[in-house]
Amino acid sequence: MISYSGLNGFLEPQVFAAVMIFLLPIIIFMFVLPLGKKFHGFRKYSGIVVTTGIFISFLLAYYLYYTNANLYFYSAWFNNFTWGVYIDPLSIAMAMMVSGVSFLIHMFAIGYIGKDPNKHVYFAETSLFTGGMLGVVLSSNMVMFFLFWELVGLCSYLLIGFWWYKPNAASAAKKAFIVTRVGDVLLILGLAVLYWSFLPVVGNNDPLSIYNIIHYALNVAQLPNGQFNLALAGALVLGGAAGKSAQFPLHVWIPDAMEGPTTVSALIHAATMVTAGIYLVARIYPVYVYALPWADYLVLYIGAFTAFLAGTMGLVMNDIKRILAYSTISQLGYMLAALGLGFVMVNTIGNTIGISIYHLIVHAFLKALLFLSAGAILYALLDTRDIRKMGGLWKKMPITITAMFIGALTLVGFPPTAGYFSKDEIISLAYFVYNQNPYVLYAWILLVIGAFLTTLYTFRMFFTVALGKPKSYAAEHAKDPPWVMIVPMIILSILALIFGIFQSGFYNYFSSMFTGTKYAGTVSFSIPLYIEIIPFLLVLLGIYIAWVFYGSHRLSAEKVANGSGALYKIVKAKYYLDFLFTNIIAERIIVFIAIVVSLFDKYFIDGIVNGLGLMAKYGSMAFRKAQTGIVQNYAVMVIIGLLVFLIIGKILGVF
């Protein structure tokens, strides 16, 4: 890794390219918004401008990959913080994924959002959104990282509420903002703990730089209480990651975020937002490696439990976008669990970050594909989102539904697709780690059941949408969208199908990230074949069960639902988590605290402030009577004052 600093470093071509990757979309945002506001004729070109800008970002990211950039650039910012870029295989892979998938989604959006009169606002905001996410993955310092992280949160709020005149969208935007804010509070506390625990080791030499966090975590762990500090920081940062990456219990905002335009959902789910949390945990992996084990198990089990829990909720939803939202939560759980496996068994860390990020990238392709095809369906069906009103769409819109079929196969991990190479690797790794560490057994079980549930809800959705008879007027008259929307779907389909062949190359590329560090080298793990094919058998079983219930309708899903009684009700109510958060925590506890605090503020803090003001007011009313305006009164005062001074002086013996 080469270090650069200062202006000379900035003019280094690789550094300049890396900075421009995230700066370019932000600059474009600054131009598109005012231009679109001033010139109405410009609005219809805003999509093309933004899409081009993001494509240039992608080319710059590809340039970094092509020249094998591995560098750390920093420049003075605050007294104790620097700004800069940290480029290694992890950030290059993320930057290419973010800009590439974002480019395809923007291209789709040119068609999808094309009729909206405020499309320049939409494209300006998505450009800022993408720029913010690229800044997140390239930042070299946790403070800079946090700024971009907040920028992403802000843009998600703006974009989810893009159709602000719909009450649902406005409240969903607020919910997304507030729930991720809970995570952000935890994250900033975690950064404070990190700063505090790295200060004795690094000194005033930028304790929150990612370079220092990676290279000095071992020294921190050797301090007294160091491991505990790292574990505390790791757990708090995990809280921030859970807020952004929608992990239990902060996942509640994502299903509501479906109120935004579908392309926004695609951006949030595939490229620009939810992957930030996974990236954060992967970025500061040494903190977890050297922390006390409970932080590692926390990462593992939050991921595994979320993968399972979101799968069960996905089963009972009827809104096509919400099903996809729960599947995103579930897949993010897999990525987090994969990272947790590496933290639990440290000698596999060389594998696990690669495995987790590989799944992240495959998931980005397939989830963008699924959301774009869902967007195309919504475009054709005039925003009908209930899958029970669709049906028979395979004949009506063959290209879209074929793309969705490929996406569904990739999501469940059917063998030739990329999903098979990414997800089954995580499950196999879980079993391998379980052989060394019995506490991981439950994680493996949760992940396997999660894979089964994934298949079940994905094909429930797919069969209901694609097969049978059209169940509404709009579904009967659906047809494929224009080419500008089809091309991105085709590209993503091809990627989802063939990306599996890059698996070993990708892992090798990632293991080069650890060259020269203590984590270098990978573990080649093999597990028994009968264990390895369990997920595949469960996928086949899941597709069969989904076919019986929703394809051929040989068995009735309603009967099963009614037969299961309370269980169905609980799952349908999303485990009452929304009820718990909104009606109990927010309305009872938080509102009560807020009332107490506001009374304190109103009567104590304001009392002090207003009291000072009133004191001055009434005091001056009393004292201004002394100002008579008659000169002789003042002269009397002067003479009395002079006498007083003379007398005092006489008493003190000055004269």
């Binding site: 201004r624 008579t628 305006g629 008659i630 000169v631 002789q632 002269a635 003479i639």
Partner: protein, 100 residues
């Protein structure tokens, strides 16, 4: 030669009279007269000391002081005339506009 202390007593008397006048009179012209008495008491004091020390510079200073006193009463009368134009009155009670 008149003893020094008599002159100083006259000066003190004039100063007290002038001060009393400043604090009590109601009319503007009388105020100016009181100020003149005050100034002249100081002048007399200085002349007395200068004569005692046989030092002419004190007397020169008193000449300057008299010139300044003349200028000052001219300014004072100008203010009074301006006041009279406003209020048809030179009583000090009519100078109350500067208060709250």
């Amino acid at each position: 030669m008149i003893p020094m202390i008599y002159v100083l007593f006259i000066s003190l008397l004039m100063f007290t009279v002038g001060l009393y006048g400043i604090l009590t009179v109601k009319g503007g012209v009388r105020l100016l007269i009181s100020i003149e008495i005050l100034v002249n008491s100081a002048n007399l004091n200085i002349v007395a000391w200068a004569t005692m020390h046989s030092d002419p510079s004190g007397i020169l200073f008193v000449l300057i002081s008299i010139a300044i006193a003349a200028a000052e009463s001219a300014v004072g009368f100008a203010i009074l005339i301006a006041l009279y134009r406003q209020t048809k009155n030179v009583g000090l009670k009519s100078l109350k506009e500067l208060r709250w």
